[in-house]
């Protein structure tokens, strides 16, 4: 028996429950299949109940910020693709926004529309993939995931024909976008967006009222408003806790004030709310897409004054933030007048959101840990940077 109990540690001192039952320390990850990357959780279990949980990250650390301080401003743009590698276009936008603030560059209208369209498509594919992965974490053998990926493929095709790459788009430039929309792209996009509500209906029929899903998610991992605000959580999981905070409404960056859309808010802050908020946000994204695809004007796509080579903004600092699909993604830049930023810092929504994991998981099951982690929606590329 020694080998079974070898890794087991008894609870140390508490007289009331010392030796009552044995605790099991379980290392979930970094090779665990449902940690969404190389993430590790040191979990202490009592039976299957989580008593302690320590998130351990840094396995994917690649020195992004320091590399960026040695790159030109443009040279960092492809690296931002790799932060949250599912939503490279929103990362591009956040970085471009920061540099534009720093250098005081104006963005032509058409480019703003393209940015909104690509960002909302990105939001759609991110939320779809997330819900797929979340149900996969619940053991749904991949069916919802495959449906989400079916739609994601089409979005990626659109991205590819626009930017040249499916995931590492490297599309936005300071003052606009790299290339204009190719011929027929808008029609293709309109046609595709018209099919999205049908996909959402299908998705809802498949799982939204499923008893097992409700039992697995309702009342699991409840995040209170206070906790969410105190921890600095942003994005859909903040709104699932009932806080009305969406940078698209708060900052009205880009041209988001031109579109009519609503912010769905949860009440309970549990995993089911986080799941449903994303479904509803996808519907709102479709609304924005329809408006943007209708209104998009002709015109230049990039400020003609922007220089590609030898871009040196005046000394100063700027913080550009957007509502990425996962939360507030911000880039803080300090320029000393040279071609490289003096300081480059990423405000990663994934990492900030991840800090609440322990509070959400304590007292739940091992199986719930995986689901809660899935509902927080992290990408290790952005957490570890």
């Amino acid at each position: 028996m020694s080998t079974v109990t070898e890794p087991v540690r008894t609870r140390p001192t508490s007289v009331a429950d010392a030796g009552e039952s044995q605790l099991l320390e379980l290392s979930m990850g970094p090779q665990h299949p449902s940690t969404h990357g190389v993430f590790r959780m040191d979990v202490v279990l009592d039976g299957e109940r989580v008593m302690k949980l320590k998130p351990v990250f840094g396995y994917l650390h690649r020195n992004h910020e320091k590399i960026a301080e040695h790159e030109t401003y443009l040279g960092s743009m492809p690296y931002t693709d790799r932060l949250d590698y599912i939503c490279s276009l929103t990362n591009n936008w956040a970085y471009a926004l920061a540099v534009e603030k720093l250098a005081g560059i104006q963005v032509p209208e058409r480019a703003e529309y393209i940015r909104v369209i690509t960002a909302e498509l990105t939001r759609f594919l991110n939320h779809g993939a997330l819900i797929g992965f979340l149900t996969q974490d619940m053991g749904a053998s991949g069916t919802p995931l495959m449906y989400a990926f079916r739609e994601r493929e089409t979005i990626l095709d659109l991205f590819e024909s626009l930017t040249g790459a499916r995931m590492m788009c490297n599309y936005m430039r300071f003052g606009g976008c790299r290339v204009d929309l190719p011929a027929g792209w808008l029609d293709q996009a309109r046609k595709f967006v018209a099919t999205l509500p049908r996909f959402l209906d299908e998705f809802e029929r498949l799982l939204a009222t499923n008893e097992i899903l409700m039992a697995r998610t309702q009342g699991v991992g409840i995040m209170s408003k206070e906790l969410a605000i105190n921890a600095g959580v942003t994005g859909p999981i903040l709104r699932a806790s009932g806080v009305n905070y969406d940078l698209r409404k708060v900052d009205k960056y880009g041209i988001y004030d031109r579109f009519a859309f609503k912010i769905p808010l949860g009440e309970h802050g549990d995993t089911y709310d986080r799941y449903m908020i994303r479904l509803l946000e996808m519907r709102e994204s479709v609304k924005i897409l329809n408006q943007a695809l209708k209104d998009i004007p002709e015109g230049p796509i990039i400020d003609p004054k922007t220089k590609i080579r030898g871009f040196k903004p005046k000394p100063g600092e700027a913080y550009g933030r957007i509502e990425s699909p996962k939360g507030e993604l911000g880039f803080y830049l300090v320029s000393d007048g040279t071609a490289n930023p003096y300081r480059y810092r990423v405000r990663s929504c994934c990492m900030v959101n991840l800090t609440v994991l322990e509070q959400l998981c304590i007292g739940h099951n091992v199986a719930d840990v995986v689901v809660i982690l899935g509902s927080i929606d992290i990408v290790m590329g952005e957490v570890d940077r």
């Binding site: 743009m77 590819e160 024909s161 040249g164 290339v179 799982l207 499923n210």
Partner: protein, 213 residues
């Protein structure tokens, strides 16, 4: 009633199961080696060096100006300049790269080298069947491996290549005219206007847009 949502879900999967036999658009899978997706024009993969004419060494547009080496974010380009000169794409005598290596195991296909190149010498290829059995030498592409003809460029990015060709042609005509004028006026004068002329071509080139709209 308990189980209603489960039954709804079962109906949905059954619909998809049957639908996958009926409608072809449900199946997004492409049976890869037999069927392939249509090549998307904007697609980019790894860089290649464009050459004009038939001789890849003579026709190479690269003048080894080191801009791409400097701008490349992951620093995967290695250039060594030649000591002698040869006429470049527009007809002016220029240095050429003695060594031009790209470590494609480091390259992240960001296209920044293409954007910064003032000579339209480096472009993005679309070849994606690149597996090799040697991860060291086979992934370090040298000048010969990188050199692809202008026809190849036309094949993979027709609109973009046409725009580039047009820009080059006007440039060439300008240089030729200037050379003619110089030859007529003062045969000893050295052609010194090259960098300005080249950068205007680069700025004139918001790549595929002009012709598409």
């Amino acid at each position: 009633m308990f189980g209603e949502g489960i039954l709804k879900g079962l109906a949905e999967t059954a619909r998809n199961f049957l639908g996958s036999y009926v409608s072809k658009n449900r199946l997004t899978t492409v049976q890869y080696p037999e069927e392939r997706l249509p090549q998307i024009e904007a697609y980019r993969n790894f860089p290649f060096l464009v050459y004009d004419g038939d001789d890849w060494q003579q026709g190479l547009r690269c003048v080894s100006c080191f801009i791409c080496e400097k701008e490349c974010p992951p620093k995967c380009i290695i250039i060594e300049k030649s000591t002698d000169k040869k006429p470049d794409a527009v007809g002016k005598p220029q240095f050429y790269p003695k060594v031009f290596n790209i470590d494609v195991s480091v390259c992240m296909s960001c296209q920044i080298c293409v954007e910064v190149c003032p000579f339209d010498a480096i472009k993005m290829d679309t070849d994606y069947e690149l597996s090799t059995t040697n991860r060291f030498s086979a992934l370090l592409w040298d000048k010969h491996r990188l050199a692809k003809s202008n026809e190849h460029y036309h094949k993979i990015h027709p609109t973009e290549a046409a725009a580039v060709d047009a820009a080059l042609a006007t440039e060439r005509a300008k240089v030729a005219a200037k050379a003619k004028a110089a030859a007529e006026a003062k045969p000893a004068a050295a052609p010194a206007t090259n960098p300005n002329g080249a950068s205007t071509t680069a700025a004139d080139k918001p790549v595929p847009t002009a012709s598409e709209k």
